[in-house]
């Protein structure tokens, strides 16, 4: 590993030693952070997978039964039936801090569900009622899925970034600092020795003269 391009002085040595201390401490902290983030991520991703498996089937089923319900009437009737929904879903959104990653928190606002079926029952088939009731139940789950999946996305990103930081510290920064500190210490020791020798030489020269 290449050492840093610095002057081998005592001041530089002291500066590098503090930097090394900070780097080692930062590395330890980041490693702990990585462990905990991965643990949280595992919990979330498992829930994400479970939710997705559940909802995927349910959404397809609900949509299919909706299509089937549409098949017995004509397309314009169908469109007219759902053209003016009785209410619109409101969400409650906030942010939550998971290992210093701001992940969203989303829930469906419990509004007054006045009328789930915005059409006259005379015009459409009974299957439509069922599929809409199903779908509005799935929608709550889907919103939960959205929250969890988003959190997973963001945590995965954070874990990747964090890993790069840990690796950069562990394999580049810290070895470099250690090597440079060693180089400076050796250089200073060498200077010390040559100084002593010079003094001894001078002393013997003076002694020989007299």
């Amino acid at each position: 590993m290449a050492r840093l391009n610095v002057n081998p002085t005592r001041m530089e040595l002291r500066r590098l030693k503090t930097r090394l201390k900070t780097a080692v401490r930062g590395h330890k902290l980041l490693k702990d952070k990585a462990d905990e983030t991965i643990r949280q991520f595992m919990v979330l991703i498992k829930e994400n997978k479970r939710l997705r498996e559940e909802t995927e089937g349910e959404v397809s089923a609900a949509l299919r039964s909706f299509l089937l319900a549409g098949a017995v009437t004509t397309a314009p009737v169908m469109e007219e039936a759902v053209a003016m929904p009785g209410y619109s879903v409101e969400l409650e959104t906030s942010e939550k801090n998971v290992m210093s990653v701001m992940v969203p928190q989303i829930s469906v606002k419990e509004g007054d569900k006045k009328e789930l079926y915005p059409y006259s029952f005379a015009g459409v088939s009974a299957e439509l009622d069922g599929s809409i009731a199903n779908l509005s139940e799935v929608l709550v789950k889907l919103v939960h899925l959205a929250e969890v999946e988003k959190a997973c996305n963001m945590l995965a990103d954070e874990i990747e970034k964090n890993r790069r930081r840990v690796n950069a510290l562990e394999y580049v920064m810290i070895p470099q600092l250690e090597e440079t500190i060693k180089y400076i210490t050796m250089k200073l020791d060498e200077n010390e020795r040559s100084n002593t020798i010079r003094l001894m030489k001078v002393k013997s020269m003076i002694e020989n003269r007299t």
């Binding site: 397809s60 299919r64 989303i106 919103v143």
Partner: protein, 106 residues
Amino acid sequence: MRNNKIAVIGDKDSILAFKAVGADVFHVRNYFDAAETLKKLARSYAVIFITEEIAENVSEIIARYKTRPYPAVIPIPGAQGSNGFGMNGISRNVEKAIGTDILNGN
């Protein structure tokens, strides 16, 4: 800003049902249309569901919103059933975070 509502982007068959349950639906004809709609909706909606088939083709735009808390762009299966794009997303996340897909491995 955010209007705390749900948007659904997809083909006509898949989204009509969502309209009935109170989400705002946006019908797109082609992928270019989808990309434009998504960009526009991302500014205001908190949650955007997008059918897998379309999500697959505008994935680079979806990736743009991945690291932000809002909007949450989530692929959902359409009326034709799931093609596995949503599940792949989970596997990709695991791979990105841990290095190998440990959920589907066992």
